[in-house]
Amino acid sequence: MESLGITYRVIGPELVLTVTGVLVMLLEAFSPGKKVRDGILAAAGVVLAGVAALALWDEGPVMAFSQMVIADGLRVFFTLVIVLGTLLTILVSWSFLDEERIPPGEYFALLLFGTVGMTLLVASNDLMMLFLALETITIATYVLAGYRREDLRSTESALKYFLLGAFSSAFLLYGIVLIYGATRTTNLAEMARIMSGPLEEAEIVLLMAGVAMLLIGFGFKVTTVPFHVWTPDVYEGAPTPVTAFLSTAPKAAGFAAFLRVFSLTFAPLGIESAADQLASHWVSAVTAMSILSMTFGNFVAIVQTNIKRMLAYSSIAHAGYVLIGVLARDWAAVAFYMLVYTLMNLGGFAIVALWARRGDKWVLIADYAGLGFRQPLLSFPLAIFLVSLAGFPGTAGFVAKFWLFKSAWGAGFQELVLIGVLNTVVSVYYYLYVVIVMFFREPKEEVPRIPLSRAFMTTMVVALVGVFYLGLLPTRVFAFLNAAQNLLAIGAR
């Protein structure tokens, strides 16, 4: 059995999540409707998966299952980010499940299986594995987006997501096929080895076409302009807790795969090689995607009246910032950014979900008028998360952006950093606009008092502590990431 490379420890997090998912599903079948039991079980499984991921730390960079999966620093850290995102999503969904009378078992099971896909995506060391992991994520999230079936917007959201998702998957798969044709392998480590030498001209052409297709596919999955068209509609129509999930954990996983494929495998070596011939092309393509995402996302976010759409465009803009980190080939900066983004975005969406109430009705920015001093436990955290998204000093958003821009500046992407900084200034306008509406506008009708559940308060505490801890004392996480960087993979250079 040794020759097949079957080592269960290496897929520990995935095993734990899958078993928990099946367990939750079966429990729902035999005794349905027990939200607390299912929820706690799901949360426990997710936490255990995080522990299993941390246990991989001591293994060092190791590949298993015929080099299909890899355990290295990048995987461990991103798995932890994903686990955090899923955990917070379970908490955000808590009261939503009651209000909408949704059977909790299937919901949690889908969430868990989706998470399996994400952790697998982060662990993939083979394009075949990568594609399957992506499909696992997207199929689970298509269904989650359409969970409120009687609502037309939710159904529209699911259908749009499904059609464009299938479309982008086709691009991705075609890209993989072409790359396989050029390098005769789907394994990333092997690919990096082959590309460190020269290739024939016909193979280079094939490789370029394949990588372009791959870029389009990834562009869809991590919502970058010009492949972003589905994002606002899907984010608006999906149930708010699901939107919160979509904008954080799958995106972190997508960027992890993006980093592994582009920043690590297709990295230029500075010598005469296929990788270098390719690199100049993908770098300029990703630069264009980054600039477009930042600029378009931020400027269109300004004119939005619906807060979910506004956050969708903000999410596109943030994807643009993150691409700068991908270009700088500093995966630790990207990982930190995604951790921070997960905390602040999920925190923000938790409040949006609560305020939207049954049927997702109060989602306009104007609906937030007068919230400020009438329900400070909602308005102050939301203000903090928005300020952090804008990147104010003292919050985690600032540290994350600062690190990202600093490493890009050092890597020679000065123009890109300038555009990023200018865009950050633009983004302050629409983030602060919500704060102004909350505190300085009078409401048209009586503002209802919304009861705050324990799950909601827990989310707030976790997200707020995270935002301030990473904003003020980020050194310990930095040290952890530095250690993780030394643990980077064999296939990566």
């Binding site: 299937e106 399996v116 269904v143």
Partner: protein, 162 residues
């Protein structure tokens, strides 16, 4: 013999492919697609990819096409026909795409001798596929089962009675 068979299958595939586009009734197009898939099966057999040929019949001709036919019959697309016809914009869009495809074909035909097809390998034989599936691709194979499980679960969730 092999060359004659290749020509027969290839020509059948091309003629049937044109038929898919030229037929007005979607049902006829779907049946023409069946012919294309059948002809491709013949080509796979000629290449020695027996497993691939079998899968082509089982999955595409068997499952996917039946699904197509079901959907066409359920939707009763006949009523939509007239509306789908009038799209002059798409017709103009066809010109650049046809040119692109033509250029690609030209390039392929010109470089054909330099890149011979990898016939004679045993990649498409059942034993080779099975061996790979349960050794190299063991983990992806298992993950496929999770994908299927999610698909079933998702279908149940979305089709459930309110």
């Amino acid at each position: 013999m092999e060359r004659a068979l290749f020509l027969i299958f290839a020509l059948t595939a091309i003629v049937a492919a044109f038929n898919i586009l030229l037929r007005r009734h979607p049902l006829h197009s779907a049946l023409a697609l069946l012919v294309v898939l059948g002809a491709l099966t013949g080509l796979y057999i000629l290449l020695g990819a027996y497993f691939l040929a079998m899968m082509q019949v089982v999955i595409y001709a068997g499952a996917v096409l039946v699904l197509f036919l079901f959907v066409i019959m359920l939707l009763n697309i006949r009523a939509e026909e007239a509306r789908l016809e009038r799209r002059p914009f798409f017709r103009w869009l066809a010109v650049p795409f046809a040119l692109l495809l033509g250029a690609e074909t030209f390039y392929l035909v010109r470089t054909f001798e330099e890149n011979p097809s990898p016939s004679g390998t045993s990649i498409g034989v059942t034993e080779a596929v099975g061996r790979e599936l349960f050794t190299t691709y063991l983990l992806p194979f298992e993950v496929t089962s999770i994908v299927l499980l999610i698909a079933i679960l998702g279908a149940v969730v979305l089709a459930r009675r309110g």
